[in-house]
């Protein structure tokens, strides 16, 4: 009898040990996947925060710019820098053939004419002088310099010619190639040229969408939740509403996208591709999340507090507004932030309402066309150029950083402001 008991006891201990082992393995596995994921994104993405510059001597020759003597500021603005820009690149190899000259021109971004212009506008006294100017390298050379581009491929399979590599290596030897922090990744809008593409337009698009979403979803959801939880009679009809709110939370986001497309764009004729429409569509998605969070935190307020207020002669409305709602706010707010974080990461509905369009301006209001961060990831991931690969990862990093900050904020609100019940 005793032996049997001991056996049973041992097997109970073993079962517990086994269970703990399973649990630990599961956590280990989850952490492993997370580490691999983050490592992969960082190792591909960190180079996007660096940008390669070619330092090229520019001779600001008045004749090449077709300028008269003593040009005014306006003259400089209107001057034609094209030939000067070309000449600058051709000067790198004076013996270049016509085809090689074409290669030289393509070693820098197509934007470089404006970079030269800006230099002169900053300091008009440069006319007639020569100065080293930083020019953005083409995305292919940028990738070569970062070591992301295989140089040993046969030339006809490479986007960089042998000639370009030769000149580039000469420049590197002369210390005329420099890598600096890629500020333009944050300040430039999207571009077809990888070296000039930035997240400014999609970032602003995301911010505007989230703001529109917040402004619409938060008040509607909170009012609905307060009414349903505190005032509405409990009957079949309100049960039916509750079930449907929960259903709404489970509807795939692309369905909301179709709704936005079919109603907001087709019927109400709201401007396509704008954060306004995106935000409204996202607010439909966020609405049930906030309602559920708000109702849960209203439910969590102990009935004794309501009774205390009612027994003091507070009306139902006063009880709700003075006590229940303020006490439920931490939970509601953190639920709202988590709902917004979900909306921030949403792609499918935004693609449907046209926020996937190529936008190379930075939106100034929710009525301007824009992309959003996750859609930007999608757009870049579709692009063929090697330069976009690192951009995709970098954009994911920005989006994840954003989400982590939001979730952290939600946690802090919950822990700091939630009341402890006696």
């Amino acid at each position: 009898m005793n032996k049997n008991k001991e056996k049973l006891l041992n097997s109970r201990y073993r079962a517990e040990k086994r269970f703990q082992f399973y649990g630990k393995s599961a956590i280990f596995l989850a952490l492993l996947f997370l580490t691999i994921f983050i490592f992969k994104i960082f190792s591909t993405g960190y180079t996007a925060f660096q940008k390669t510059w070619l330092i090229v001597p520019v001779t600001f020759d008045a004749e090449t710019m077709y300028l008269d003597e003593n040009p005014s500021k306006e003259d400089l603005e209107d001057a034609d820098y094209f030939d000067l820009a070309l000449q600058t690149m051709f000067n790198l190899d004076k013996s270049a053939s016509e085809k090689q000259q074409n290669d030289l021109k393509r070693m820098v971004s197509y934007f470089f004419e404006r970079e030269i212009k800006r230099e002169l506008l900053n300091d008009p006294s440069l006319i007639g002088k020569t100065k080293d100017v930083y020019l953005t390298a083409s995305d292919d050379l940028d990738q070569v310099f970062k070591g992301n581009y295989p140089r040993d491929l046969p030339e006809d399979q490479r986007r960089v010619t042998d000639y370009q590599l030769k000149i580039f290596d000469q420049l590197v030897e002369q210390g005329r190639v420099e890598s600096k922090f890629n500020l333009s990744f944050f300040t430039y809008p999207d571009s077809r040229e990888a070296e000039l593409a930035g997240i400014a337009s999609s970032f602003m698009g995301s911010i505007f969408s989230i703001l529109v979403c917040l402004v619409i979803a938060f008040p509607v959801a909170v009012l609905a939740a307060i009414y349903l939880e505190e005032f509405a009679p409990k009957n079949r009809f309100t049960d039916f509403i509750e079930v449907n709110i929960n259903n709404l939370a489970a509807v795939p986001s692309i369905v909301f996208g179709l709704l936005g497309l079919g109603i907001l764009l087709a019927v109400f004729q709201l401007p396509r591709s704008t954060p306004l429409v995106g935000g409204i569509t996202l607010s439909l998605m966020t609405l049930p999340t906030i309602i559920i969070a708000c109702r849960a935190s209203l439910k969590a307020v102990p009935p004794s507090i309501r009774e205390a207020a009612l027994a003091m002669g507070a009306s139902k409305m006063q009880t709700t507004m003075h006590h229940t709602v303020p006490l439920s706010m931490p939970g509601t707010l953190s639920g709202t932030i988590i709902g917004l974080a979900q909306a921030l990461g949403e792609t499918a509905p935004l693609i449907l309402i046209g926020m996937v369009a190529f936008v190379n301006t930075i939106p100034g209001s929710p009525l301007d066309p824009a992309a959003s961060l996750p859609v930007q990831i999608y757009i870049w991931a579709e692009s063929a150029e090697r330069g976009f690969v690192e951009k995709v990862s970098a954009c994911i990093m920005v989006l994840l950083g954003f989400l982590i900050i939001m979730n952290l904020f939600a946690q802090i609100i919950r822990h700091k402001f939630e009341k402890k019940w006696s």
């Binding site: 009679p233 409990k234 102990p302 004794s304 507090i305 309501r306 009774e307 205390a308 207020a309 009612l310 027994a311 003091m312 002669g313 507070a314 009306s315 006063q318 003075h322 006590h323 006490l327 009341k419 402890k420 019940w421 006696s422």
Partner: protein
């Protein structure tokens, strides 16, 4: 003097009847104790007196409860006014998660009883003094009320209830969550308060009922079995069931 006069009060939770034909008169400026075993309906009856049963959806109250010549179950009765006149202290201390000062000032604020900050300060001080809590908290009025000990919290709740100068105070087992010392303090307080207020207290402790009350009503299975002066109920009960309960044979 009769303060509250209840006639043929029936209470239903859904289809289940919880109180049967209660007729009980409450004397003014005295303490009336309601005793009886768990589930006998004494708390339900107490909650009829300030219509707190309204909060429970399925609860229906029938009969008349007349306070100041006015039937509080009448449609024309305003519950907000009623509850201003009839305060309540609950089983578990339930201060608002706000400061001690705000706990007291809440009632006077919503009923517009103070015209100035000074007047409010006075109300807060007087209420706390009457609840015998002033000396303990006067230096930390702006600290959270939930930070007090259990007994102090309950006295805070009493101070909150008397801040609006109610005529009647209902107490639903106010000492059941407290230790003996805190209980003694509350009982002393109840004795003090009966000068200005009519008090009805539900209690599980017969000793407490005997100590604090002048009148006692004994409830059993939703019926008011016997009521009368506390002396008579405890020393010379008429009903067999009352006697059995008081002598501890059931309950």
């Amino acid at each position: 003097m009769i303060k509250i006069n209840s006639k043929n009060v029936d209470v239903f939770y859904g289809k289940k009847q919880a109180l049967f034909n209660i007729n009980l008169d409450i004397e003014e400026n005295q303490v009336t104790a309601l005793i009886g075993p768990s589930g006998c309906g004494k708390s339900t009856f107490l909650r009829c007196l300030n219509r707190m049963n309204d909060v429970i959806d399925i609860c229906r109250v029938k009969g008349q409860i007349i306070i100041n010549d006015f039937d509080i179950n009448d449609k024309s009765c305003d519950v907000v006014r009623l509850r201003e006149k009839i305060g309540m202290v609950f089983q578990k201390p339930n201060p608002f998660p706000k400061t001690i000062y705000e706990n007291i000032s809440y009632g006077p604020t919503i009923h517009g009883m103070a015209q100035s900050k000074n007047e409010m300060d006075e109300i807060v001080e007087n209420s706390l003094k009457k609840a015998a809590l002033w000396e303990e908290v006067k230096d930390r009025l702006h600290e959270p009320g939930t930070g007090l000990s259990g007994g102090q919290q309950q006295r805070l709740c009493i101070a909150r209830a008397i801040s609006v100068k109610p005529e009647v105070i209902l107490m639903d087992e106010p000492c059941s969550a407290l230790d003996p010392i805190a209980t003694a303090q509350i009982e002393e307080l109840i004795d003090e308060l009966k000068k200005d207020h009519t008090i009805i207290i539900v209690t599980h402790s017969m000793a407490q009922a005997a100590r604090v009350s002048q009148n006692t009503g004994f409830f059993h299975l939703g019926e008011l079995i016997e009521h009368g002066s506390t002396d008579k109920i405890f020393k010379n009960p008429e009903n067999k069931r009352t006697q059995d309960y008081i002598t501890g044979r059931f309950g």
